[in-house]
């Protein structure tokens, strides 16, 4: 019987890890569909950013209530996972509380886990209340329906259940130790400290040893299976941020927020135009340049493959917290633009492209694209490029760069700018100002009284 449960445990573990690796591979493949961009310079600055923003949660606390609760849940999650080491060893080798040889330190660990578990439970319940009872506005925006809405609650329910199972397991274990059950009780006395689960004892007081063992084993199994399931739920969920927040902050833009990249493809064109010796009819000199001349780069982005891999990583990292949208001037004044929706649309389209590749071996044209089928022009043109969304993101996501790349496509590939902008751009081109004033009148202000 013991050996059977060990085999089942190992199988469950292998199964979970296999699927997790499969999902991670898919994730990496999809992110790599993006264009190259160098975000490996200045590693010390990048590490610092990651340490501050992801590890240190420095931007989470900009909203103090959510921020502090999040730190509690985050710390609880990370620290309680130390217990996973013991659970896995026990599961594989059929031992019980294998790390208890550490004595007083073990008691300290288990006691800390219990307190953290309680704090996580409280935190998650408050999160649930904020989302479902108080109904904070940013959780009830247009894009937060169906799956995104259920996903958010699923995660909260999951964490509640895992914490309750963890505490139940400990309570049953403690009671078993108290009644001196075989395999649980120890001559040295009570193993572990149970500052929280001790209060559950009245609930299981008087139960037979076999009932207690059943409760303990059931809780233990459901807890570990729940954790393994949750690991594989990540890929389908906004909860991926627990892993991706780290690379996402590492690869985030380091330049001032106002600095937008200068498109390389355009640089080449402009250099050619400004070169008095350039021969527009010249045959490209060698094969390499002929090849690059044959396939001109698309200007801007109309689909996910036109974005760079950091933008795609951003989309998978987004936790849909909506801080970006809450700060967006366009969204606050009732426009359709929501930076969060930009990220969710990018991710959903990328997933669609990924599934297309899974099915066909390579991407087959599906007559859909990110532009129009997911993100409308109306959303794109409502942006003031103010960077409030970029500043608000607690994990360094840059929705603005996607908006900009899509505007570039609209203007340079489709000439689809709003007419007033076409007029302003025509003025810049003809007379060097967005208004129709002659460049020769640029000094007139100094003569005016």
């Amino acid at each position: 019987m013991a050996i059977l449960s060990q085999i089942l445990f190992v199988l469950a573990l292998i199964f979970a890890i296999y699927f997790f690796i499969r999902n991670v591979k898919k994730l990496v493949r999809n992110i790599k569909l993006g264009k190259t961009i160098n975000r490996r310079d200045q590693p010390s600055k990048r590490f610092k950013n990651m340490a501050m923003v992801a590890l240190g949660q420095s931007k989470m606390v900009k909203r103090p209530i959510a921020g502090i609760l999040h730190i509690v849940v985050y710390l609880g999650f990370v620290i309680i996972n130390i217990e996973m080491i013991e659970i896995v060893i026990d599961g594989i080798f059929g031992t019980h509380r294998v790390l208890s040889f550490m004595g007083g330190f073990y008691d300290f660990l288990i006691g800390s886990f219990e307190i953290l578990a309680l704090l996580v439970l409280v935190g998650v319940i408050v999160f649930w209340i904020r989302r479902n009872v108080i109904r904070l506005k940013r959780f009830w925006a247009n894009e937060m329906t169906s799956w995104p809405k259920n996903d958010a609650n699923n995660i909260l329910y999951f964490e509640m259940i895992l914490m309750v199972l963890f505490l139940t397991m400990n309570a049953a274990d403690y009671q078993l130790q108290l009644v001196g059950a075989d395999h649980y009780a120890n001559e040295a006395g009570i193993i572990g400290a149970f500052p929280v689960s001790q209060f559950l004892l009245p609930l299981i007081d008087g139960l037979s040893i076999s009932s207690l063992i059943f409760i303990e084993r059931t809780a233990w199994w459901l807890h570990i299976l729940g954790v393994l399931f949750f690991l594989n739920y990540l890929y389908y969920s906004k909860h991926l941020h627990i892993l991706l927040a780290f690379p996402n902050t590492y690869f985030a833009k380091l330049q001032p927020q106002g600095e937008f990249n200068n498109l390389e493809a355009v640089k080449n064109e402009v250099a050619l135009m400004m070169d008095p010796n350039a021969d527009p009819f010249a045959v490209p000199a060698d094969d390499a340049s002929a090849e690059s001349a044959a396939i001109p780069d698309k200007f801007g982005a109309s689909d996910v493959q036109d974005l760079n891999w950091v933008q795609l990583l951003n989309s998978y990292t987004c936790t849909e917290c909506g801080r970006c949208t809450a700060e967006c001037p366009a969204n606050q004044t009732g426009k359709k633009l929501s930076p969060r929706k930009i990220m969710m649309d990018t991710r959903d389209r990328l997933e669609e492209v990924g599934k297309n590749i899974d099915k066909n071996g390579k991407f087959e044209n599906d007559n859909k694209q990110l532009l129009n089928d997911y993100i409308t022009k109306e959303e794109l043109w409502a942006c003031t490029t103010c960077n409030a969304c970029v500043e608000a993101c607690p994990i360094g996501i840059d929705p603005l760069s996607i908006i900009m790349d899509m505007r570039r496509y609209l203007v340079m590939e489709e000439s689809a700018a709003p007419n007033e902008l076409n007029i302003a751009m025509g003025n810049i081109e003809n007379n060097g100002a967005p208004w129709p004033y002659n460049q020769m009148d640029r000094m007139n202000w100094s003569q005016e009284k």
């Binding site: 900009k62 330049q255 001032p256 927020q257 106002g258 600095e259 937008f260 200068n262 498109l263 355009v266 640089k267 402009v270 135009m273 400004m274 200007f299 801007g300 700060e327 001037p329 366009a330 606050q332 004044t333 009732g334 426009k335 359709k336 633009l337 109306e378 043109w381 409502a382 003031t384 490029t385 103010c386 960077n387 409030a388 500043e391 899509m406 570039r408 203007v411 340079m412 700018a417 709003p418 007033e420 902008l421 007029i423 302003a424 751009m425 810049i428 060097g432 100002a433 967005p434 208004w435 004033y437 460049q439 020769m440 009148d441 640029r442 000094m443 202000w445 100094s446 003569q447 005016e448």
Partner: protein, 263 residues
């Protein structure tokens, strides 16, 4: 305030074989927009008063390309940049000051990659340095004790981290500086950025400048200070929309300093 102001051009400096201390990049709004021209003139008066040898490009200046770039027209932006860089490098410009945060951001951050490397500063930073070097004094004058809130321009504040220079200047005016609910890094846009200045807004339930003006009015200010010609226009319109234009003036920081000295 009736005399014509002397504004030397780079061409004049070059013909005399001299180089100015700093180039004043006036910008399109500062050159053509009636409201922004007042800011330009106020700043020029301050430069004269402080004895700064400055020059403008005059008719050789052209749009930096910022609105084109934010609208997505990278091609037009880079063409403008190439032409401007040719002029600026031709005059061997080292230092540029501008009263427009959009020009400031573009010249400072986006021109270097295209071959234009200059020290670029915003006019509030420049005025602050004049103050620190003792070349200029700032007194409260008619602004002393006035309740003033400063609206952070996105491309000066959040985008480039310049929050303190304009505030320090205002404090030197001995005003009562009050902050809006959303300020500095969390400041709300006036609604003009990203080429929105040149188009009608998308359908919504309010204009961005109205929302921002409401945030400013919450602080019960006597005046609203700005550091950007576009923000200035948007906030002025917002104040008018609230029928407060007779009570609350929207002024650029440079205008306040000039007016405090009766320039």
């Amino acid at each position: 305030m009736t005399e014509e102001i002397k504004v030397p051009t780079m061409a004049e400096f070059l013909s005399q074989g001299k180089a100015p201390e700093v180039l004043f990049w006036v910008g399109c709004a500062g050159s053509f927009d009636d409201r922004a021209k007042k800011i330009t003139k106020a700043f020029v008066k301050l430069l004269h008063k402080a004895g700064v040898e400055f020059a403008v490009l005059g008719t050789e200046e052209s749009c930096t390309g910022d609105p084109a770039k934010r609208a997505g027209n990278e091609f037009l932006f880079q063409m403008q940049a190439a032409m401007n860089i040719q002029v600026l490098n031709g005059y061997e410009i080292k230092k540029i000051v501008t009263a427009c945060p959009h020009c400031f951001n573009t010249l400072k951050n986006e021109y270097p990659d295209l071959g234009g490397n200059y020290e670029v500063i915003h006019h509030t930073q420049f005025l602050k340095s004049l103050l620190e070097e003792g070349r200029m004094t700032v007194e409260g004058g008619k602004f002393k004790g006035k309740r003033i809130t400063f609206h952070d321009p996105c491309y000066l504040g959040r985008a480039n981290g310049v929050f303190e220079a304009p505030r320090e200047l205002l404090q030197k005016l001995e005003v009562e500086l009050v902050e809006m609910r959303k300020c500095k890094k969390a400041g709300l846009c006036c609604g003009a950025g990203g080429a929105q200045m040149f188009k009608e807004p998308e359908p919504g339930n309010k204009d961005v400048n109205i929302l921002r003006t409401e945030q400013a009015l919450e602080t019960q200010p006597d005046m609203i200070a700005a550091g950007c010609p576009f923000c200035n226009t948007m906030m002025t319109d917002g104040v008018k929309n609230k029928n407060k234009e007779n009570d609350i003036e929207v002024l650029d920081v440079a205008e306040m300093i000039a007016q405090a000295q009766d320039l």
